[in-house]
Symmetry: C2
Subunit: 135 residues, 2 copies
DNA sequence: CTAAATGCAAAGCATTTGCAAATAT
DNA sequence: ATATTTGCAAATGCTTTGCATTTAG
C-alpha cells in the first residue's frame, strides 16, 4: 500500500501537512478548482494562504503530480495525475467524470492527416448528467 | 456571396467597422488570442480600446458567432464559429490547425458509458508540427 | 545545517465596468 | 429618435512575487 507520503516523495515533492491534505481532498473529490480546494484546505488549516495553494498547484503540475483540466465556462480544475483519460462535464451541475476511451484510432487518423507528431490530447465532452436530465 | 456585413447581421450583431475588422483578421489568421487580435486591430484603428475588443469577443461568443478554444499552457484563442471540429496545436511554434475527425463513434461510446446526454465536445491534440520536427 | 515551504502583504496582469460621446439602425 | 457601441479611466479579480519565519530533510 502506497501512502500519500510515499506518493509525494516519488514525485520529488517535499512532504508537508498542507500537501498531504491536498492529496486527501483531491482523492476524495476528484476534481477541484482553486477556490474549492482553498476552502476545503481552510477547514483543516485555518491559516493557510491562497498563495500557498497556488504555489503548490504550480509545483505539483511541474512535477506531473497534478494535471489541469480546462473546461468550458468554468474555472480550471485540478486532479491527481493518472493514466491518460478524457472528461465529461455536466453543463448543469458541473459534475465532472473521468472516462477512459480508446483514442488510439484517433491518434492515428490525426497523425496521418496533420503530419504532427502527437504527444498528448485534451478531450472534454459536455452534456447533461442523468440526475440533471430528470429535473 | 455572403459579405462580412451580412454575416454579422445574420447573427444579430450590430455592424461596426471594428467588428468588420475582427471578422477580417480572424478569417485571415484563423485563431487569435486577445492580445494578438488587439494588436492587429490597432493597425487599422489606432485608437481602438482593449475594452472594446473584450466586449466584442464576449458578445460575439454569446451570439455564437465566435468560439473560444482553450489550450494547454497558452492563452485562449478565438475563431469564427464553424461546424464542430477539433484542434491540433504545435507545442513548439503554437501553430493551431483545425481538423475534422468523425467523433460520432465516441459520442456513442461516451453516452453509453456515462448516461450523459452529450451536447458538445472540446478536443485538442498537442504535438510537434512537421516544420518544427525538422529544427 | 541547508533547502524548501508557508503565510502575509504587495505587486502584477487580465478582464470587466461605468459613463460620456459617437455611431448604427 | 432610440438603442448600441466605442474609448477612456477606474475598478475588480485572479495569480504571482518578495520576504521574513517556520518547517522538512
Amino acid at each position: 500500500m502506497t501512502t500519500s507520503i510515499d506518493l509525494l516523495k516519488s514525485y520529488n515533492l517535499t512532504v508537508t501537512p498542507q500537501r498531504l491534505e491536498i492529496v486527501n481532498v483531491l482523492s476524495s473529490y476528484g476534481h477541484l478548482n482553486v477556490d474549492k480546494l482553498y476552502a476545503l484546505l481552510k477547514s483543516t488549516f485555518p491559516s493557510i494562504s491562497l498563495a500557498t495553494v497556488y504555489k503548490n498547484i504550480n509545483t505539483m503540475i511541474e512535477k506531473n503530480f497534478l494535471s489541469e483540466v480546462k473546461l468550458q465556462n468554468q474555472k480550471n480544475v485540478y486532479e491527481l495525475a493518472k493514466e491518460t483519460h478524457s472528461h465529461i462535464m455536466c453543463i448543469e451541475c458541473e459534475e465532472i467524470l473521468d472516462i477512459s476511451i480508446d483514442i488510439s484510432s484517433f491518434f492515428k487518423e490525426v497523425t496521418t492527416k496533420s503530419n504532427y507528431n502527437l504527444t498528448s490530447s485534451n478531450i472534454v465532452f459536455n452534456g447533461v448528467c442523468q440526475k440533471c436530465q430528470l429535473l
